[in-house]
């Protein structure tokens, strides 16, 4: 099975929930995944379907809504795939409230049956096959709009006096019963709408809000997606964890990859405070998501400020650790800028012949091998630090840029791009002024990009009322090799 296209064992996937929230899950054989009130399911049931498939969770009406032993294991399963089990507990994803409160509400549904939604092959077949959750809400909203059109063309909430839940004829118990019995969340919503006396009296906006609220609350569906860097970013965003990636937006990250001219054969010098997200994105462009077996593949030299490189998020990737260590070289700023010489390193090691080694006490032999391993590691670091002529310098760091960038620029080949990300525009402005007077950098440009999403339901199209702010800025320029002024006299 190709884990890039199909749900396969032993990979991480992104599970998208009707609440617009998502979670990262590990596809472990015989495991169970619990999605809180959205239901639970057996992992084995979804393996083999193409990534991108939407599933409904179906329950027999007899199943009780209690926390069974299976559920407990399910939630453990989920937790193990997460980084901060407490915060990522299922409950947190629906409510968005602090972890403490959620734990109280933590009650998983029992394991249900899985029904994949079939996609229609062509236009003829699919007239009635409206499936994905976004589509479904569109349908229901469309139906509601039709209703209104029949009633009164100036659809308003003129006569709609707010009487709270009185206008809603279904009780929440009735709804809960429906939820357990129903095959399809869509039916529930349809029933709710039918029972809502004043639905057709609401304005377009209130209808939209109402539909979307109900949709998110009652649909028991989920979609299993391949875990792209953008999906990962979106996941962190919904978790409220964007500060961890210095608030970078998807569109800014995408722009960075293009301006950096990232391609399979390149050797890139990267500094990144996003825990590996940016490296993961570069690797998608370079290697396509898994262990690509081609010649002349490039490398990423990852410069880290703290003692150890933080590439935590790479653990979700499909790359083998061998592949990663072959293509990602990590080195601290100290080791990079103040490398030891090979001579210095050699001084610290007494090189023994095989004979000599064999004569060593087993205890000392281990020490010797550790020392030798350290030596070879150090030697590789020295080699990395000695490499110049990188094909791109890609930065996402909060270190002062005016001091850092000209030093790193030394390692860049001529006619290669420098792309620097910053959450704020001001440090890039400062850097831009600095580079502007440095003849080794051509045309530094500070730029901003922003994706504005629309509600894309025909008849009610408008830009979303709110969207995320921030997202950061980029500075882009080309490294060049100025003429030696001495040569011009």
């Amino acid at each position: 099975m190709n884990p890039l296209t199909h749900i396969a064992y032993d990979q991480h996937v992104l599970i998208k929930l009707p609440s617009d929230n998502s979670k990262i899950c590990f596809i472990k054989k015989d495991g169970v995944i619990g999605l809180g009130k959205f239901g639970s399911f057996n992992i084995n049931d979804i393996v083999g379907y193409p990534l991108g498939t939407t599933f409904d969770i179906v329950y027999d009406s007899s199943v009780e809504d209690t926390l069974t032993e299976t559920d407990a294991s399910a939630s453990t399963e989920v937790k193990s795939a997460e980084e901060k089990p407490k915060e990522d507990s299922v409950g947190s994803e629906e409510t968005g409230q602090p972890a403490k409160k959620k734990q109280k509400k933590f009650v998983n549904k029992p394991v249900g049956k899985i029904v994949p939604r079939l996609y229609a092959t062509n236009a003829e077949d699919d007239a009635e096959e409206e499936t994905s959750s976004s589509e479904r809400s569109a349908i229901v909203a469309d139906a509601a709009a039709d209703l209104i059109a029949l009633q009164n063309s100036s659809a308003t909430n003129k006569d709609l006096i707010n009487l709270g839940s009185k206008v809603q004829k279904m009780t929440s118990e009735e709804i809960e019963k429906l939820k357990e019995a129903s095959v399809d969340g869509q039916e529930i919503i349809q029933k709710i709408i039918e029972s809502h006396e004043n639905f057709h009296q609401k304005t377009v906006y209130s209808q939209e809000k109402y539909m979307s609220r109900k949709q998110k609350k009652f649909a028991k569906t989920f979609t299993v997606e391949y875990l792209t860097s953008s999906g990962l970013l979106q996941y962190l965003f919904y978790k409220g964890d964007t500060m961890r990636i210095n608030d970078m937006s998807i569109e800014t990250m995408a722009m960075l990859l293009n301006l950096g001219n990232v391609q399979p054969c390149g050797h890139y010098l990267v500094m990144d405070e996003s825990g590996g997200l940016l490296v993961y994105a570069l690797m998608e462009r370079m290697f396509g998501g898994n262990n690509l077996e081609k010649e002349n593949l490039g490398t990423i030299t990852f410069l880290h400020e703290s003692e150890h490189a933080n590439l935590d998020l790479l653990k979700y990737s499909n790359y083998s650790s061998e592949f990663i260590s072959k293509h990602i070289k990590t080195i601290s700023v100290w080791e990079f800028f103040e490398p030891s010489t090979k001579e210095e390193l050699a001084k610290d090691v007494v090189f023994l012949t095989n004979e000599q080694i064999n004569k060593l006490h087993p205890h000392k032999k281990g020490t010797y091998h550790r020392k030798l391993k350290w030596y070879h590691n150090q030697l590789e670091l020295v080699n990395i630090a000695s490499k110049k002529d990188y094909d791109g310098l890609i930065l996402n760091t909060t270190l002062q840029l005016t001091g850092l960038v000209p030093k790193l620029g030394e390692y860049l080949h001529g006619s290669r791009p420098l792309v620097c990300y910053s959450q704020f525009r001001e440090p890039l402005l400062e850097l831009s002024h600095k580079l502007y007077t440095d003849l080794r950098y051509l045309a530094p440009t500070v730029l901003e990009t922003r994706c504005r999403p629309y509600q894309s339901i025909r008849g009610k199209i408008h830009p979303l009322m709110t969207m995320r702010g921030g997202g950061g800025y980029l500075l882009w320029c080309q490294k060049v090799l100025p003429v030696d002024p001495e040569s011009l006299t």
Partner: protein, 410 residues
Amino acid sequence: MTTEALHSASTDLASKSTFQSYKDIVQENDLVLIWISRDHIKPVVMKHGENFNTRYGTFPHTSIIGKPYGSQIATRTAKANKFGFIHVLQPTAELWTLSLPHRTQIVYTYDSSYIMNRLRLGPNSTIIEAGTGSGSLSHQLARTCGKVLTYEFHEVRCEQAKQEFKEHGLLEEDNGNLVITHRDVCNEGFKLNDRDCEASAVFLDLPAPWDAIPHLNTQGILKKNEKVSVCCFSPCFEQVDKTLKALKENGWQEIEMVEIQGKNFESRRQMVRTLDDAINILKDQKERKDAGIEKRNKMNKKILTEAAKNSKTENQTENSATTSKDETKAEVEGSGTEADKQTDATEQSPQLKKPKFNPFGKGFKVKEGDLNYNWIQVSKMESEIKSHTSYLTFASKIYDMKRETEPNDQ
């Protein structure tokens, strides 16, 4: 190392397109981008014996061949002791977008980068692009994707693009990864003569994408049992509406329209003028007025004229600040380059400079960044911004979904 030695040393890479690899040294027959200024980048094929002419002087190709990419090249201008400068860059898809001959509206990097990300393009992707247009996006796709199938219905434009792709080494027949077809996909669909497309992504930059969308259902166009994505690129709202309808009717899912808004900022400086400066100028004016020193006024006027001659007018300063570095590089004398470096060096401690009292007030033109004054760094938005290119409508679908029953890897 001589130019010849370098030449032969890098022949291994010669088979790969310059848009899909990195080159070290400029060789004969290389396509290079010559950077004159931000708005003036020229693609040139290097030939011994030929010249590249600018208003700053003539650059023999021979003076470029053999130099590392990124080199600044100098030439003596007509005026004695002055030099003109250019930079020689290796073409990349993004730089090409800035330099290319516009045959049609082009897809700029703000849009293209987002599209490529959203369509999840990478070495494993096969993408359909219709239409080719000026080929700006095609270059970016060829850099990133495994295979690019591009369609252009305008015969002349198609030929022009094909020629360009050939020169850039992108065509499949020349060991590249791009296939261009002259075709009206709205009427004739996407089917190629020699094979199935088996595309994983589709980009439609057509006036009526809704006519092309049903053709995507034809057997062999899109990959089966795998999520495929489409992006439609349309400037008008009504086009989006029709596209949404067609996508829905053809069973596409996750339909979402977005627009991308990108902005560039210039880095500029604003003079620090304090209230005390202003009051002192008024006092000074009053004093001179009271003393009735008309003579001094005349002298000042003379100084002013002198100074104005040496500095630039405000308007010119504005333009030159935008491009001054480029101009500096292209226009200044050898010694000017030194002066520039000095600016850099002194830049690091601007706070040491005392703000000088400016007796001429606002009327006096001061060059932006003049070290006799204090400045704060400011960002200036372009005076005209690209407020709209097109709406991007995305959707995804799985054709012939079925469960893989025999997992190989497990």
